[in-house]
């Protein structure tokens, strides 16, 4: 079976400005693809290109095995949910949902049946005769979803659909979208700048920056094996610690040296067998820097660090210490006794370590 969405060598320019550069992405039936990146990275433009709302400058897009590169949005068998919801302000909720069918000449009986179905599914039956102006943000969001669902398309497109909701509603809508995806088995492409949304929803993530794809992979791959410094820094909160270090071969493994503000540099032993350049950036997520003795394993190395800052966050307490000239965050138990200014034994779980080249930013291991 061909991929449901296949983007090949896609380029998009506005005049001399390159908005998208050589984008290649393909997904299969049932995938949940999330395009994530900072604002201006081209993710929304990419979504608009998939929808056919923006002409592309080069490459091809096929949906369901059909080349759609020059096909108008209406014939691409897609539905889209917008950041601003884009509900038609003068139409009732029911008319908003059935407008697409009406335009396509679907008969009235089918329209009513599908409307009822979707309204039940999204629990918006009491709202059907209201206008968008009379709805709350969350209700509008549901109606916008309904308008997409009723079309039963090959591909659902979401353009930052949750960014206008307050934090609490956002979390609950997020899980509803996830449930919807699981129940329908539908294929979805979802744009967000929120990396947590990306991690929770996606079966496949595309991280973008400056119009270029930085990495494509499952959430676990992206999180555990970021392809470069940008992805490492962008995905995960609090962000991955990126510490300048010097490496040196020592027997079977690798000796890693990290400077400290006072005293001798910290030395860690990694079991990594691969050869690395002398200067590297060592990437370690906060949850992989823990209290000494909290985790065991061949790659867990302890070292003494000075605590600069203690930030209790409820479930955990974050401790900040300066290493390699950077503020390094460790994630400790809530009951930790760490005190600012005191020395503390921290364990570094080097099984999860990433190494990056300082100049190119590319992953080394």
């Amino acid at each position: 079976m061909p991929p449901i969405l296949d983007i090949r060598n896609l380029n998009k320019n506005y005049g001399a400005v390159e908005i998208l550069k050589e984008v290649n992405v393909s997904i299969d039936q049932g995938d949940f693809l999330v395009l994530v990146g900072p604002s201006g990275c081209g993710k929304s433009t990419l979504l608009n290109c998939i929808a056919g709302l923006e002409p592309i400058s080069g490459g091809s897009i096929s949906i369901g095995g059909r080349d759609m590169t020059r096909v108008s949005p209406r014939d691409r068998d897609i539905a889209m949910v917008f950041q601003s919801y884009a509900l038609y302000p003068t139409m009732t909720v029911a008319k908003n949902i059935t407008f697409g069918m009406k335009v396509r000449g679907v008969d009235a009986a089918t329209q009513t049946r599908k409307l009822d179905e979707v309204a039940r599914q999204l629990q918006i039956e009491p709202l059907l005769n209201r206008r968008p102006g009379q709805l709350s943000g969350g209700q509008r969001q549901r109606v916008a979803m309904g308008r997409a669902l009723v079309r039963d398309p090959k591909l659902f497109l979401f353009d930052e659909p949750l960014s206008n909701l307050d934090a609490k509603l956002r979390v609950s809508m997020r899980s509803e979208i996830k449930k919807l995806h699981q129940n329908l088995g539908a294929t979805m492409v979802y744009v967000t700048h929120d990396q947590i949304e990306a991690m929770t929803l996606a079966t496949k993530i595309v991280v973008m920056k400056g119009g270029e794809v930085q990495q494509i992979g499952t959430p676990a791959e992206i999180y555990n094996h970021p392809a470069n410094l940008f992805v490492a820094d962008f995905m995960g909160s609090p962000a991955m610690n990126l510490i300048p270090a010097r490496t040196q071969r020592s027997g079977q493994g690798l000796q890693i040296e990290i400077t400290r503000p006072e005293g001798a540099p910290m030395v860690l032993q990694s079991p990594l067998a691969q050869d690395l350049p002398e200067n590297v950036i060592l990437g370690l997520r906060p949850e992989d820097i823990i209290e000494a003795g909290a985790r065991n394993g061949p790659a867990v190395q302890a070292a003494q660090c000075r605590v600069d800052l203690v930030e209790p966050a409820g479930a955990d307490t974050y401790v900040v210490s300066e290493l390699g000239g950077k503020q390094v965050t460790a994630r400790l138990h809530a009951e930790t006794k760490a005190q600012p200014g005191a020395m503390l034994d921290l364990a570094f779980d080097l099984a999860k370590v990433s190494f990056f080249a300082p100049d190119s930013g590319e992953r080394l291991n």
Binding site: A51, R74, I78, Y88, G100, L157
Partner: protein, 302 residues
């Protein structure tokens, strides 16, 4: 009276709390405001009272005195008997000329403005801004600069001295403003709406009819009022492009007032002036809020 929601921003407390000096100031304020109100009302009052007086009473009485004996004779003459040059049919035929000319001209120019504004604001393409700027500059030319060629063009089209000719001129030179109004209105509507409708399968015209026109009621009212006031009150095009029989009411009024034959009937002049001004005055009283929005939109761009 008119509802001016354009001004209904929360009242601000620049005025200080009341103290004896403040109370005196307050009185001064009210008397000033009252005096100015008199200044603005005086001409209307004088027009009205004069139009209800007989000629003798006008000659003997004072400008601002109320009529001793109210007579509608002057109104009757102004409407159906006053002379505009050699014809003595009153304002009536010219009033209808103005109606026949204003209604289609307003409708056509408003519709074109809506379509143009919709395209410029929502269907971005290369050069759209240039076209908009070109139209905008067109709003500002003194019409004298197109008067001669337009007169020739209308003659060439066989529309010289006709009402369709006047309609044509008003539509052409109204497009700039109507486009500006609609463009500035549609620019505030998120472009996602068009995108959503495209994905839903609607095309250019469908989106305009089903989505944009229904939400444009306020700006349609503003534009219609603006265009109606402009066209009804126009004199330059009327006097330049019409001929006896097709003149609009403003031209006829001027002819009545400045006709040199016979006795000067001031009461008829005033009745005629009120008749000529009544439609726009009525629009102002009924829909003042939209009138002001048009004025400010037409001057404070964007």
């Amino acid at each position: 009276m008119s509802d001016f929601s354009a001004f209904s921003a929360a009242p601000r407390a620049v005025a200080a709390p009341a103290r004896p000096g403040q109370i005196a100031l307050r009185w001064l304020l009210f008397s000033l405001l009252g005096l100015f109100a008199l200044f603005y009302l005086l001409p209307l009052f004088v027009m009205l009272t004069t139009s209800l007086k007989s000629l003798e009473e006008i000659r003997s009485g004072s400008l601002v005195s109320l009529p001793r004996e109210v007579t509608f004779e002057a109104w009757r003459t102004a409407w159906s008997g006053a002379c505009t040059g050699i014809q003595c049919e009153g304002l009536r035929p010219y009033f209808w000329n103005s109606v026949l000319l204003a209604v289609p001209a307003v409708l056509i120019s408003t519709f074109l403005g809506a379509a143009n504004g919709y395209i410029i604001a929502q269907w971005h393409f290369r050069g759209a801004n240039l076209i908009f700027s070109a139209m905008l500059f067109g709003c500002f030319i003194p019409f004298q600069v197109v008067l001669l060629p337009m007169a020739r063009m209308l003659g060439w089209m066989g529309l010289a001295g006709t009402i369709p000719g006047l309609i044509f001129a008003h539509v052409i030179y109204g497009i700039g403003f109507t486009t500006l109004f609609f463009r500035n209105f549609y620019v505030t509507i998120p472009s996602d709406l068009v995108k959503a409708a495209k994905v839903d399968g609607a095309g250019f015209f469908r989106i305009f009819w089903s989505i944009f026109l229904p939400l444009s009621l306020p700006i349609i009212v503003v534009t219609v009022i603006w265009q109606f006031t402009q066209i009804w009150n126009d004199f330059l095009f009327g006097v330049s492009f019409s001929q006896a029989g097709t003149q609009p009411v403003t031209v006829a009024l001027n002819n009545i007032v400045n006709s040199t034959t016979g006795v000067k009937e001031y009461n008829v002049d005033m009745a005629a002036a009120i008749i000529a001004g009544l439609p726009t005055l009525l629009v102002y009283v009924v829909a003042g809020k939209y009138f002001i929005r048009g004025l400010t939109a037409g001057s404070v761009k964007g």
